[in-house]
């Protein structure tokens, strides 16, 4: 019984660490959205400078998971949790990398000609909101250990993919008309691409949560409903 309590305390600490990392990455993404939509270079620099904290979390969680496996030899749900946390911390770190990348675009002068109208036409705010909701819903799924919403979260990734494809088409036509903005268009395309990748990593986190809670593997399954 004593061992079980010790074991559970360690797992609880691991989960808390993950919650802190998740909140930080979510806030990075929200700030990066605001910085992008309002061309706020100050806020963009804040996102860039806080990226190191995310990396530190990733290293800490990886090392704690390794220690847990070595010391407690977890099985069943405990093993699934630790494996999931290791992969989720990697996915969150990548999401934060992309958020930092988008923030860097905001600080580049070539980027500034992009108008509010163009951002609206490309539905970039919708893309931001969709990936942010994916990330916060999957966080809620982990916190409540409930995977009911996983299907809906994964569907949102398809919405993000569609927005990316539409945005790409739009920019291709746009650059033909406004060739003097070509550098800005390329930068914008890179932002869209980063948001699309963030959506993919959010999907990965949901897949890991489903593996942990329901012991089901959703990866590379076409119909994930």
């Amino acid at each position: 019984m004593e061992k079980a309590k010790h074991n559970e305390t360690e797992l609880k600490a691991l989960k808390e660490e993950m919650s802190h990392m998740w909140r930080l990455v979510l806030s990075q993404l929200q700030k990066c959205k605001q910085a992008y939509l309002t061309n706020d270079t100050e806020l963009a620099r804040e996102v860039i400078s806080r990226e190191k904290r995310v990396n530190t979390f990733e290293l800490k969680i990886d090392s704690d998971c390794e220690n847990y496996i070595a010391l407690f030899a977890p099985v069943a749900v405990d093993l699934r949790l630790v494996l999931s946390l290791m992969k989720i911390s990697g996915a969150l770190e990548r999401i934060a990398d992309f958020a930092e990348g988008i923030a860097k675009h905001v600080t580049i002068e070539d980027f500034h000609p992009i108008t509010a109208k163009l951002k609206e036409d490309l539905k970039i705010e919708t893309m931001f909101d969709t990936v942010i909701s994916m990330l916060s819903d999957s966080f809620a799924a982990l916190e409540s250990e409930n995977t009911k919403l996983s299907g809906k979260i994964l569907q949102k990734d398809d919405e993000v993919d569609t927005l990316f494809m539409e945005g790409k088409e739009f920019l291709a036509k746009y650059v033909q008309k406004e060739s003097s903005y070509s550098k800005c268009v390329l930068e914008t395309l890179l932002v869209l691409r980063k948001l699309e990748r963030i959506g993919d990593h959010c999907s990965n986190t949901v897949e890991e949560i489903v593996f942990y809670i329901d012991a089901k593997v959703l990866k590379h399954v076409k119909s994930r409903e």
Binding site: K3, A4, N7, A76, L79
Partner: protein
């Protein structure tokens, strides 16, 4: 290979095994886990009729080995135990030489002449991964061996009479990690020629050596499945609670 059908077993009034049905494939390792008193050793001992020696016990249902009911009246228990050998928790070599320990079953059962017995002893010691350590001192007392070596000697003794099944009741619980690892390696290698059923309290050992695992609790077989599945995604809550240490 081994099939239990609706097995119920009683020690007097105590209902120790409740409606156990399972099948064990040939050339596989099956591990039984569960808390003390759950019935796993009782079930293991049923498979070579060791429980016959305990007064006041009663069995319902049937145990079949190679399609034959081992509790049938026509079964000669001595012949049965030759085919279904057993290794116990504590190494129990006879107070004889290393050679005589392994040759004992062969001599009692008159299995071969002197040369054949010598060859069989050597092969059994090789199969139990002990030969290199004892080949120069076969006439020394078995008691001069370490605990881990004594346990491998007991395995060699069981192998000598060419059984098809080997039952192991906590075979490594009294051994240090190096000896334990040798026994586990041995179990893994013996699978090619024997069917092995092992009872263990060491869940990691069950996970390492077995193909299938059965979890017993309060006389019931709660779950019986492929070991990988049992230790990654057990289907029953009780199994999960036990293997993750949350039981009780």
């Amino acid at each position: 290979m081994i099939e239990a059908k609706n097995v119920n077993f009683y020690y007097g009034d105590f209902h120790a095994l409740k409606d156990i049905s399972l099948e064990i494939e040939a050339n596989s390792v099956t591990a039984f886990i569960g808390p003390s008193g759950c019935g796993k050793s009782t079930f293991l001992r049923l498979l070579n009729r060791m429980n016959d020696l305990i007064a006041g016990t009663r069995l319902e249902g049937s145990c079949l080995v190679n399609g034959k009911n081992i509790y049938d009246k026509s079964v000669d228990v001595d012949v049965l135990r030759k085919d279904i050998g057993m290794v116990f928790q504590k190494p129990n070599p006879f107070p004889k030489s290393i050679f005589e320990n392994v040759a004992y079953g062969l001599k009692v059962n008159r299995m071969g002449n002197k040369a054949e017995i010598s060859a069989r002893v050597e092969q059994s010691l090789k199969d139990s991964a002990l030969w290199d350590e004892v080949k120069d001192k076969l006439n020394k007392s078995a008691y001069e061996l370490s605990g881990g070596q004594q346990q491998r000697l007991c395995i060699a003794r069981a192998l000598a009479v060419k059984p098809s099944v080997i039952l192991m009741d906590e075979p490594a619980s009294a051994l240090d990690p190096i000896s334990t690892s040798k026994i586990e390696e041995l179990i893994y290698n013996l699978k090619a020629n024997y069917t092995i059923v092992i009872v263990t309290h060491n869940m990691q050992q069950a996970a390492r050596v077995s193909d299938k695992t059965g979890f017993f609790m309060l006389g019931e077989l709660i779950e019986f499945d492929e070991t990988k599945r049992m230790f990654i995604s057990p289907q029953k809550k009780q199994t999960q609670n036990y293997i993750t240490g949350r039981f009780g």
